[in-house]
């Protein structure tokens, strides 16, 4: 039971922060299938930073982890500008741009990782190995039966994610900028008439989604594999897209969708463990979050309301 909660949380939270990024982008009117590529590129930047810190400086442990997380955030943000540029400046089809960004991210990170490993660190490898992230338990709270698991062996990044998520929620729902962003996705003409630059709003929203994806991607790298390798592209970006569509493009419900995915996954894993099934059975279990998504999606789709101008290029002349 404890491991279900602990592993569930450490999977749900990175998924949640990536989904928040997606919400920002889509609420502003830009379809974002590129989350997968953004999180991968962010994790690549973070991994590279961690590797450089480890090799050339004396900074170690927790400090290097925070620097890596920050680097991943910046890396994802910079790479997201490519998607923003294609969708907003070059008016490309947003879905296609997203797919292309993903393909390019896979190719680019694989090439750069190999190249940098060979030329900078002098070894042939397709991954950056990370230091194992420390974990901690909150005294007293962690001793509560059952619920205590929520406070046991927490990754430091989980706290970071919760804090960032709270800030992002506040910005989106309570500030003028958030209001304009949401309006840009529903009625960009009105935003324009109010004297706000729609394209700037959308551009910044896509950059935010890149930053969040980069952060989430780096967290996945720390929690799942302790290295940054091509296996970072295993569909978590797409899963978070499903999460926020299922959450109806709202941060609150999306949180519960992510929790559901994370716990379905960890519960499945511990089921395989408890029943002592061969490892091949974990493949069947891994389908659980996806099957749940499909079924739930069929039920909620009729009631779902996407932002009205989602995927449309903003055209000043249109009414």
């Amino acid at each position: 039971m404890n491991s279900i909660i602990i592993d569930g949380l450490s999977f749900s939270l990175p998924l949640f922060i990536i989904a928040i990024g997606g919400i920002y982008s889509e609420r502003s009117g830009i379809t974002n299938l590129a989350l997968e590529g953004l999180l991968g590129f962010g994790a690549f930047t973070g991994g590279l930073t961690a590797a450089i810190i480890y090799q050339f400086t004396a900074i170690g442990g927790t400090a290097s982890m925070y620097i890596a997380l920050f680097a991943a955030l910046i890396g994802g943000m910079v790479y997201a500008m490519l998607h923003a540029l294609l969708c907003i400046r070059f008016k490309a089809n947003q879905v296609i741009s997203g797919v292309v960004i993903n393909i390019l991210a896979t190719a680019l990170t694989a090439f750069l990782t190999n190249q940098i490993n060979a030329s900078l660190f002098g070894k042939a490898s397709n991954r950056f190995v990370l230091e194992v992230s420390p974990r901690f338990s909150i005294p007293l709270l962690s001793e509560i039966p059952v619920l205590g698991a929520f406070f046991t062996s927490i990754y430091p990044f989980e706290i970071v994610i919760l804090a960032v998520a709270l800030i992002m929620w506040y910005i989106l729902e309570k500030t003028p900028y958030g209001l304009r962003l949401r309006a840009a996705g529903d009625n960009p003409q009105a935003v324009d008439a109010a004297g706000v630059n729609v394209e700037m709003i959308r551009f910044s929203a896509v950059m935010v989604s890149g930053a969040m994806s980069g952060l989430g991607g780096m967290c996945f790298a720390y929690s799942i594999s302790s290295n940054v390798s091509p296996s970072i592209f295993s569909g978590y970006g797409y899963l978070s897209i499903a999460a926020f569509i299922f959450g109806n493009w709202k941060i609150g419900p999306t949180f519960w969708a992510c929790i559901l995915f994370g716990f379905a996954r960890s519960a499945g894993y511990s089921l395989v463990n408890v029943l002592a099934l061969p490892s091949a059975y974990s493949d069947l279990v891994l389908t659980l979050p996806y099957i749940i998504t499909v079924i739930l999606l069929l039920f909620v789709s009729k009631a779902n309301k996407a932002p009205k101008s989602l995927g449309e290029v903003y055209d000043k002349g249109k009414r």
Partner: protein, 381 residues
Amino acid sequence: MKHKGYKKAIVRILGPGKAQYLRISLFCIFISLVAGSVLLLLLGKNPLEGYVSILQGAGFIPKARYAGHKSIFTDFMSLVNYTTPMIFASLSFAVAMRCGIFNINISGMMLFSGFIASITVGYSSIPAPFAQILVVLIAVVAGAFSGALIGWLKHRFNANEVVISIMFNYIVSYVISFFIQTMFINPTTRQSERVGDNAMLTGVDTMIGDLRMDVSYVFPLAIIAVILIGFMFSKTRIGFELKAVGMNHSASRYAGIRIGRSVIFSMALSGVLAGLAGVSYYLGTFASIQPRVVPSLGFDAIAVALLGNNNPLGCLLASFLVMTISNGTTYMSSRLGVLREIASLITGILLLFSACGGAFKALADKYKEELDNEIDGGESK
């Protein structure tokens, strides 16, 4: 005045007129080759030598030396063998896209039909020509089924087809991985057991004259598919309806086109083509399935179709282009000592620029309009 010359040049190269889309695609290819050259220069290699060795590796230019029983023709046949699944897959995407559906499930459909065909016919002892025909038929049925299912879900439940497709990709990949690992695994290769030669859609190491080469039996079928799809879109009623639905849902409904039927039909057809891509990939180019891996070809096909402007003939040419780069790079990387990954990087850059194709067109059209206005303005004075 100089500024105007630059606009004129853009209008001349990319502006409205004959074969505008073709010219834009060629322009995209050109600038990505330039970008690739810059990349090679940065790595300290000679780009010209790089591109020549890509063409040599793909069998367009003779290499300096060949091993026994090999020649330029062998390399080219191998390129054809690798390109066949890509042609089917890019057609599959184009058919759905023309109807306004974004089919990102091609990889999953390929895996599904390849797996079904492998376990039913691939491991059987049905004699050669029948087994191969059966493989193709199974692919058609399995593909049509999975395509129609997604089309139906989209129509019936208004489900977002992109998310559904992505979820199906993972479900199919994990479930098939489970079956392969429990029943069909080859312990040494960690892949599924090789399918029998009787069911293979590629004649591996077939001797033709003095040469030993891989012959794709389904390549002619791919060409036929290109022609048929082209005919369907330009000459038939159903093709017209698909295009109409893709352009404007409401207008088509008003004109009396049955939207649901068009959506499900185009997804089923897309599925058939993806199924053919799957068998020509898993029982042709390769002979076994790697568990837990979705073929990246299904995603690359999206961009290939985009480069080919969702036009059947365009898909054919774009498939050859992209596969030439990826096939030829193996030879280039060994000749020049660059990393193998550079192939997908050059392809990625190519796709990036083709995604901007619409912007190039808009830019050229705008300049044309501006120039025309200036001429009109000059005359009226």
